[in-house]
């Protein structure tokens, strides 16, 4: 029995998904959401308890399910991010009447998939998790059935997503063919054995496919084209979930797979990821400048952030990997917050066009302040969390020396570029006057749950920004552990 205790968080979340389905039948939306949130939080507490303190009940890392699962601080860290993101999104949707129990069920299923990816130790489990999350989010994207945009986004997401997952599977199959095992951790163990050829072109081909497939999930250029469309078309909470959760899952999967791959051809991957890092961040930032739709802009900003995070894959030192994880974490928090704000202000009749945000601070000062903090944090303005994570990440690149410093320079220049479009929105909110006829101030009840989630996220952003020491230390610890496995 105790052997199954380790699956408690996943099981809890699965239960919450089923309960949500049940309550949907009973037409009790609040209850569905509430129970999902509570169970998620319980799971979160458990994971925090396991991972936060050394000498917890689990000795990490350890494998389970005959090698199908692998429990590590590293995985738990990502699970924490997934749960925070999901809970924030769910809290927000409690305020909106259009989301019912099915929504919570789907989002909990997606969360389950993500959680499984985080602890997966085998290709099968990895793909199952990815697909579970993927299929749930395809549906979530099309959740507003009446909306043409929503459905179209779902369709596009579905097509691109399934093509990508087929590419991923294809790549994994080649990996299996060359190495003879589907276990990723075994793969890692076997990597040192001489019978596995190091310079097998098939292996390169396999990894190319995997990169293309997972590049879709993390919205890496040139696999990013779907992201703006889908983020724009999807309901805002779902966009938040996609940008913060689904993308993080993609990175998680990449971390797991390239744990072994890096052994085979680290320098080649280094160059590859360096190239994609610069391409992705530049594409994201350049294209974000001209966007007129706030959600598209946030999507491009998300693409740019993927570029920054890719630096960690390229540099591949403990500090850089820690920085990459920190950046993943902070990006998830900031992006989910930003999308939630977008969702909330739409309730007040503010459209999705960037110019609709003009003069927002005059009417919704708290929302505007939170949004400003999130945007400035995304831009990397100190002393917010986004600055600290970029600082650690670029420090990692600089520490590695050599041409990696170019990555850091490209990163900082891009982040300067990004300041332009983030600051523009902040300026719109605080300085410009509202365009006439906008801001039809719908009289509605206060979206109190959304305010709570926004408040919590802002507190995290500011607090981690001001006192980042434990978080940085935690990430460095995880990163070192991750590096040691190699």
């Amino acid at each position: 029995m105790t052997a199954y205790l380790v699956y408690t968080p996943e099981i809890l979340i699965m239960i919450s998904a089923l309960l949500a389905l049940l309550f949907d039948v009973l037409d009790s939306k609040k209850l569905a959401g509430g129970i999902a949130i509570i169970l998620n939080l319980v799971a979160l507490v458990i994971i925090l308890g396991w991972s936060g303190i050394t000498g917890s009940i689990l000795s990490l890392p350890q494998s389970g399910g005959h090698g199908l699962f692998y429990f590590s601080l590293f995985g738990y860290m990502f699970q924490i991010i997934f749960i925070i993101v999901t809970v924030s999104v769910e809290l927000t949707t409690l305020d909106f009447s259009e989301y019912n129990g099915i929504f919570y069920a789907l989002i909990e299923f997606a969360l389950t998939g993500m959680m499984i990816v985080a602890i997966s130790g085998d290709m099968v489990i990895l793909i199952l998790g990815l697909e579970l999350a993927g299929i749930s989010t395809y549906i979530l994207t099309g959740y507003i059935r009446k909306s043409e945009l929503s459905v179209e986004a779902a369709m596009k997401y579905y097509i691109i997503g399934s093509i990508s997952s087929s590419l991923t599977i294809f790549g994994l199959s080649i990996l299996y063919g060359v190495t003879g095992t589907t276990s990723l951790w075994l793969l890692n163990l076997h990597a040192g054995y001489s019978y596995i050829p190091k310079n097998n072109p098939l292996l390169y081909l396999g990894f190319s496919f995997i990169i293309a497939g997972l590049g879709f999930k993390i919205a890496m250029a040139p696999f990013h084209m779907w992201a703006p469309d889908v983020y724009q078309g999807a309901p805002s909470p779902v966009s938040a979930f996609l940008a913060a959760g689904s993308k993080t899952m993609g990175f998680m999967a990449m971390f797991i797979i390239f744990l072994s791959a890096i052994f085979y051809f680290a320098p080649n991957l280094s160059l590859l990821f360096g190239f994609f890092a610069i391409l992705t961040m530049t594409t994201g930032n350049i294209l974000a400048i001209k966007q007129r739709n706030i959600k598209r802009m946030l999507a491009y900003s998300s693409i740019a952030n993927a570029g920054y995070i890719l630096i960690a894959f390229s540099v591949d030192t403990p500090l850089a990997v820690a920085g990459g994880m920190f950046q993943i974490f902070s990006h998830a928090i900031m992006k989910v917050g930003a999308f939630i704000v977008v969702a909330v202000v739409s309730v007040f009749g503010v459209g999705e066009s960037i110019t609709d945000y003009k003069g927002l601070a005059k009417e919704h000062s708290l929302l505007a302040l939170s949004f400003a903090i999130m945007l400035l944090s995304l831009a990397g303005v100190p002393p917010l969390m986004g600055f600290m994570s970029k600082f650690v990440l670029f420090s990692g690149a600089v520490q590695a020396g050599g041409w990696y410093i170019l990555l850091a320079i490209a990163g900082v220049l891009n982040s300067a570029l990004s300041l332009y479009y983030y600051a523009r929105i902040v300026k719109y909110m605080y300085i410009d006057n509202p365009e006439p006829g906008k801001h039809k101030n719908k009289k509605i009840s206060m979206p109190i749950y959304s305010y709570i989630s926004i408040f919590v996220l802002v507190v995290i952003i500011v607090a981690v920004g001001i006192y980042p020491s434990p978080i940085i230390g935690y990430f460095i610890h995880i990163a070192s552990q991750y590096m040691v496995w190699r």
């Binding site: 100190p382 600082f391 670029f394 420090s395 600089v398 020396g401 320079i409 600051a423 020491s469 230390g473």
Partner: protein, 484 residues
């Protein structure tokens, strides 16, 4: 550990900003809090221990301690920072008084000014790089808003230009310092820790890092050719913004260049000395000459700032005692003088509705007080002895001659041009026939608040011009001795 006066100053500035934002009477709060900060900085100056080559009023608390990145909350002051701290608190106080009659959203206005004080003070007192950089960036945001909200017709362009330029400069500087940190193998991001190791970095690496720092700090100073943001920002900024921008923000560049670049990377500095000299001299000439052809008074003053900052760069490049003393003193002097000039120009704009030199004329007729202040400001800026800039400029020119010889003729000759555009401006604007076709038919002389704000600065301009040793002794006894 003694009384944590430096942290207290930061807290007061922050509290002032917070309360100003929240209160309806932002200006009263800003006045009270900035006065307290000013008094505290006077306390700093008077309780300063002479002839010790170490930081004083030190406070140190742990902040970030991880295997790779260690940073602490360390603040302290020495002879380099004390004048700049004094300048900061004084200028903010003067600006608050000067802008007393601000009508447009005053609470936010004064809150931003206090926030600016927080950032700039933080830059001058923090002795840890991460802390330094945080304050560095904190100082940008309020200025961006000051320009973007209270600015002139092209405020959009100017505010973004300011933001992007200085932000790019900041992050290039960030990367350089991180490189310095890792290449030196320092134990933490403390200035002291980096400084104790950084001299052992390979010379070529030092030179590269130094170049990055020069770009970062230089853009802020600004040095040619990264200077074009300054005139635009000044022209569009409100008077208070211009005064703070020229008075304080430019000094951050010079300060950083001395403390972080030139001091910590001796080999890099000596490799880059010719470049710094060249750029400095180019800046001196460029700023002065460009100022000559400006018709907008604010733009003219802005270009003269570029010229003066070129002198500061030269002084740093000489790396001699007298040169550095001159650099710090000139930064202090220029802070006061440019603030006076910008305030004067702001009042001209306020009274007559234009700053365009050809459209003005004979304003001494209707606004004598304002004219006197403009004259004094101009004279101080062109380096008239017995006013504050002269000892500084002389020291720098002397240092330049003692290092590079007769090349000093170029900046010296430029002094004529500097005098030229100021005196010419005075002839056209202040003197001559009164022109009656102004926007304001009945121009009024400056208000009491404006006058007090300017007069505070002018009195110091005269005081330090006549008795420069008050400040020089602090600069010399502490920081120079420790550095050169």
């Amino acid at each position: 550990m003694s009384f944590p006066v430096l942290s207290l100053m930061l807290i007061i500035a922050f509290a002032g900003a917070l309360f100003s934002f929240m209160s309806k009477k932002g200006r009263d709060i800003a006045l009270i809090f900035s006065s307290i900060d000013f008094i505290l900085s006077l306390y700093l100056m008077f309780s300063f221990t002479y002839n010790t080559f170490s930081y004083q009023f030190m406070e140190k608390y742990g902040w970030i301690s991880t295997p790779y990145i260690t940073a602490n909350y360390v603040v302290g002051a020495d002879g380099l920072s004390i004048p700049l701290i004094l300048l900061t608190t004084l200028l903010v106080l003067a600006v608050v008084i000067y802008s007393w009659d601000e009508k447009k959203n005053p609470s936010a206005f004064f809150g931003l000014i206090m926030l600016e004080e927080l950032g700039v003070l933080g830059v001058f007192i923090s002795l840890d790089f991460l802390l330094f950089f945080i304050f560095w960036e904190v100082s940008l945001i309020p200025m961006f808003f000051l320009i973007a909200y209270w600015g002139g017709p092209r405020k959009n362009y100017a505010s973004y230009k300011f933001l992007i330029y200085t932000h790019v400069a900041g992050i290039i500087m960030l990367v350089s310092v991180i490189a310095m940190y890792f290449y030196s193998g320092a134990t933490s991001l403390d200035f002291a820790a980096i400084a104790s190791k950084s001299a052992y970095i390979a010379p070529f690496t030092q030179a590269v890092i130094f170049l990055g720092l020069l770009f970062g700090f230089g853009t802020k100073m600004p040095i040619v050719p990264m200077h074009t943001w300054l005139p635009d920002a000044h022209v569009e900024a409100p008077t208070a913004g211009s005064a703070l921008l020229a008075g304080l923000l430019l000094k951050m560049g010079g300060y950083g260049l001395i403390r972080l670049a030139a001091y910590m990377l001796p080999a890099g500095r000596s490799a880059m000395t010719p470049l710094m000299m060249g750029i400095g001299i180019l800046g001196v000439v460029w700023g002065a000459v460009a100022a000559l052809s400006q018709t907008d008074m604010k733009k003219m003053v802005a270009y003269s700032s570029i010229s003066h900052m070129g002198l500061v760069l030269i002084a740093i490049a000489t790396w001699t005692q007298i040169g550095l003393m001159g650099a710090v003193f000139l930064m202090f002097a220029h802070g006061l003088v440019s603030a006076v000039l910008f305030m004067g120009v702001g009042s001209v704009h306020h009274s007559y509705g234009t700053r365009d030199i050809p459209k003005l004329g004979g304003i001494a007729d209707r606004t004598p007080m304002l004219s006197v202040m403009l004259v004094i400001g101009s004279l101080a800026s062109l380096g008239l002895p017995a006013l504050i800039s002269f000892p500084a400029e002389f020291s720098i020119l002397y240092a330049l001659f003692s290092v590079e010889g007769y090349i000093v003729a170029i900046p010296l000759a430029t002094l004529t041009i500097v005098a030229g555009f100021y005196i010419w401006m005075l002839q056209r604007v202040v003197f001559g026939k009164y022109k009656s076709r102004y926007v304001n038919k009945k121009p009024h002389d400056i208000s009491l608040y404006e006058a007090i704000g300017i007069a505070m600065l002018i009195s110091l301009i005269v005081l330090y011009g006549v008795l420069p040793f008050i400040l020089n002794n602090i600069i010399l006894s502490s920081f120079i001795g420790g550095m050169v």
